[in-house]
Amino acid sequence: MRRTTWWLATLAAVLLGVAAPAAAEVGVTADRILIGTSQSFSGPLVFPGTEEIAGIEAYLEYVNQNGGIHGRKIEWKWYDDGYKPQDAVANMKRLVEQDQVFCILINQGTSPVMAVVPYLEQKKVPLMFPFQGSSRLHGKKYVFTSFTYYDTQTQIVTRWLVEKKGFKRIGIIYQDDAYGKFFLNTLKKELEAKGLKIAAAESVKRGATDVAPQVAKIAQAGLDACLLALVPGPGAQVLKEAAKIGLKKTKLISSGPLTDEKFLILSGGVGEGVWGLSLWPDPVRDDSPAMQEYRKILKKYRPGHEPNRYNLYGYFYTKLFCEGLKRAGKDLTREKLIQALESIQNWENGIIPPVSFGPGDHQAQDQGFMVEVQGGRFVPISGWLGIRDGKLVESPL
């Protein structure tokens, strides 16, 4: 029985012309490396998508102009998935089977990323730094993840509020779906571990524009702090409403990717005093040498793009990817790239805390720092915060 299946499958494979390539390594020749990705050039995440790509291309062009890596120029193919999982799968299969890329660099969004991970793992194609913060990608051999998971972010914020600020009455306004509930549940668990309870929890429907009732209830509850697990539109609405009713006693705290300049612009200048957890230095104003270099390279190779968190992401993780390529050596293979990245220890980069990987540890960053909105921008009010052995630890920025 088994045998028949096998023969039938083989026959079908031969008939359809599906044959495994027998090159030294797919996507690598003497003078070039071909990489690719599926991204959002349309759909709801078009702004982050095009900005990430701008950061990626700026760094790759910089590398190529300076001789490439081990004499190889990096070439790329990007396809649009419009945030649809089916198109993301179509693009990945096209990249791997038709275009024969070496690896995938930075795709984006929960659905499009989740949809392609089993396929890439099965084909043993490295997936470098997808832009998403769910811890479900933990422990995959061919996937390297980027920033602090959303649950760790909530842990850091809660512990900092309770331990460093002595807050006791903490609440949350969350989006009424799996995303918002994820923050709600993590907050609940963290507070319970400290012997506290959520003092108030108000939900907002996806796409809602009126948040007055929720803000009123939060004001009544007399909270010390209120987390906002929302997308920028309703998040900005909460800030406006809180300003309108003069809510001063309660600190509002933006959670997850909400801590972003775009959110401040939407709120129209009423965000003063809001706190949040930032994963990045200020893309526009931070003047460390590494950040100055980032702005210089972005300006030279992608002059139409202003510095922001998304193209900084693309730039930084492409740089980290290139570090892996360098360490993998001249005889580049997918397996060697994985090993080379896993060998990275305390990689000083001047942008985020030193990066370390290892077998079974494929996450680049697990810290963040608290910021306060002052004069329309995010100003640091803590050092780098992280969780080590279940405890909150702080190191200087």
Partner: protein
């Protein structure tokens, strides 16, 4: 001549699929065939009875989730059982939408179905205990008579077989009493009633049939993509389905096949563009409509007439 034409058309279709496979991969061929089933099913509703549905992505989603959940909790029924369940669930909902839609006409039906599509995604998000909500869910590989279908190649045969069956059934239906009753409905309600045909029964039947087709396609969609989430079933997808039917030609089964193939392939080829994809896609559809107001099928017929002199 007829037989020659038919052989030429089937050869042409096979050649197109082969070309798509060579340039874009077998996965896109599978997706294309799934959309062919949707377009043919939607055409039964739109092209034949003249009721426009702008929410067929909703039926596709229902079929996809039902097939995925059946595969997870009752794997013994296999792919055929799961697909029938997917179609039946969508058909039931089709009747539920079709009944109130009896009181509506033209654009009002489009509005009601548009809302349906949105409600389905919202319902999937709320039922996250079963559906995984916004995180989506992975779909187990289907099995056909005990054989697991893991690879794109194996799934291709399942999807192709179903698509051929769907097209064949639709073609036979079009020539039957039901098909003629549908066409009568499109032209005039009053005239249809005077012929002794129940407009209510046939309108509802059209909704149920169309939803059944789309539900089955949804099940295949789940198998082909292996992962489903509400993001897969957006309003844009519903609009794409309407565009496939109109572009192919209202009331033409062959047209729906061509329409589905054209839009799927166009979408994949335009994926290389970072900026003007939506604009070019829209422009291409508008230009096609101006040059071929009756769709591809009408243009094809006109060309044949001219050729014959």
């Amino acid at each position: 001549m007829r037989a020659f034409q038919r052989i030429a058309m089937w050869t042409g279709a096979a050649a197109v699929l082969w070309g798509v496979k060579a340039s874009l991969g077998l996965f896109v061929v599978n997706l294309l065939l799934v959309y062919v089933i949707v377009a043919v099913g939607l055409n039964l509703l739109m092209g034949f009875t003249g009721q426009i549905s702008a929410g067929h992505a909703g039926f596709l989603a229902v079929g996809a989730y039902v097939a995925a959940l059946v595969g997870m909790h009752a794997p013994q029924v296999g792919a055929v059982g799961a697909l029938i369940a997917a179609g039946a669930a969508a058909a039931l909902l089709g009747v539920a939408i079709g009944l109130p839609a009896l009181r509506l006409a033209g654009f009002y039906i489009a509005m009601a179905t548009l809302a349906f599509g949105v409600v389905v995604t919202e319902a999937i998000l709320q039922m996250d205990v079963w559906t995984g909500g916004a995180d989506g869910m992975y779909v187990l590989a289907p099995s056909l008579f005990g054989f697991p279908l893991d690879s794109d190649t194996q799934k291709f045969w399942l999807v192709l077989g179903t698509a051929v069956l769907a097209v064949w059934t639709a073609q036979n239906l079009a020539g039957s009493k039901v098909g003629r009753a549908f066409l009568a409905l499109r032209e005039s309600d009053v005239a249809t009633e005077t012929l002794g045909i129940s407009t209510a029964a046939y309108r509802t039947l059209a909704f149920a049939l169309s939803a059944f087709y789309t539900g089955v396609a949804g099940g295949l969609f789940a198998y082909v993509v292996s992962y489903i989430s509400p993001d897969a079933f957006s309003i844009e997808l519903s609009i794409d389905f309407v565009a496939m039917v109109i572009l192919g030609g209202m009331g033409s089964i062959g047209g729906s096949i061509v329409g589905a193939a054209l839009l799927t392939v166009l979408n994949q080829y335009l994926a290389v563009l970072q900026d003007f994809k939506a604009l070019i896609f829209g422009l291409a559809v508008v230009v096609c409509m101006i040059l071929m107001p009756g769709g591809v099928s009408a243009a094809w017929k006109a060309a044949l007439e001219r050729f014959r002199g």
